[in-house]
Symmetry: C2
Subunit: 201 residues, 2 copies
Amino acid sequence: MIRVLLAEDQSMVREALATLLGLEEDIEVVAQVARGDEVVAAAREHAVDVALLDIEMPGMTGIDAAARLRVELPDVKVVIVTTFGRPGYLRRAMEQGADAFLVKDAPAAQLADAVRRVLRGEKVIDPTLAAAALAEGADPLTTRERDVLRAAADGAVNAEIAKALHLSEGTVRNYLSTAIQKTGARNRSEAVRVAREKGWL
Amino acid sequence: MIRVLLAEDQSMVREALATLLGLEEDIEVVAQVARGDEVVAAAREHAVDVALLDIEMPGMTGIDAAARLRVELPDVKVVIVTTFGRPGYLRRAMEQGADAFLVKDAPAAQLADAVRRVLRGEKVIDPTLAAAALAEGADPLTTRERDVLRAAADGAVNAEIAKALHLSEGTVRNYLSTAIQKTGARNRSEAVRVAREKGWL
DNA sequence: TTCTGGGGATGACAGATGTCATACCCGGAC
DNA sequence: GTCCGGGTATGACATCTGTCATCCCCAGAA
């Protein structure tokens, strides 16, 4: 029996997926968590073979949880299951050592399939998504540009961003300006939208 | 047997929920659709008793689909199942005649439970959400303010919004200004964020 | 050692944004 | 018949934003 951990914050979805996987002859969902920061402990405690991780979760993202697993329990295979097929997410997930990357609008059958394949050592990635990730190149934003853009996304005004990040207001303007150019946008709102779509935020 | 239609755009989630419901003795999922604009036809064709509708779907929102059902097939009970427990969504859903409103981070058992209860004529609403919806009052935005805010949310600049909505640029500024004040924000970005959180957009 | 890129800052400037007063038209409420 | 709110518009004004040139510091690469 393949021992699976399921990490997903929406109970209804998590329980439904667990039920679905539980119907497979060779799969057993031995642990469920709703927060990213509970993944490693639960994986260790229940000696899981595969961890299915959502990305958007409270506490810690599934991608960060994958990175932790890589360090602490390197034998656990990681399958990322996410709502958003953003190229940046895929890229980061693979960099953190994920073994599979699925989007939730793929057929449910792919889930059990991916679990079995990663255990055989395969990597499972949607080819369309892989192409998109390769086509668009890496995240061009520097750390600070991302920080500033993220702050701007909440609707903060330059002065507030400056205070929050301990920068001068002029520097905030500079970072925002370069971020706007790198995203090909015409103002901060559009820059935020573009960066979100690509998974850079 | 209770005949259920399931409308949800993410296949994996839809199929998992269908499986879960199918395990219930008295429930049968007789139709599944991935788009809001296919709800009415499928409901009619399969003579469903209850329609479970996600809100965010391509083609048409679950709320609008609920309104159509109300008109065309008034006997079909409607259960809205959504990721976002936004008060504005709940309010609009109920105005369109929904019988239940569930959020996906509620336990999965509530789903089958809600299906049975709406068939008995009950309304099913999360009390916390109901309180939030009542506490915050109705959407204060006028139609045009909402239009302009929505256009601004995509990162469009004033001139573009004006062109898209056939308004003068000054008028766009006026609407944006009142929208900003009504949301208690300090600029368009924050106004968009607030409006989104409340489900006004 | 020099070059390069990231982080940080300043000053100047043009253009975009947000606010306000004011005005007109219309339809429904009183 | 008047009042009010929504929709639309203009002009003026004060800020905020976005861009650019230019500077400093530092670490790692060449």
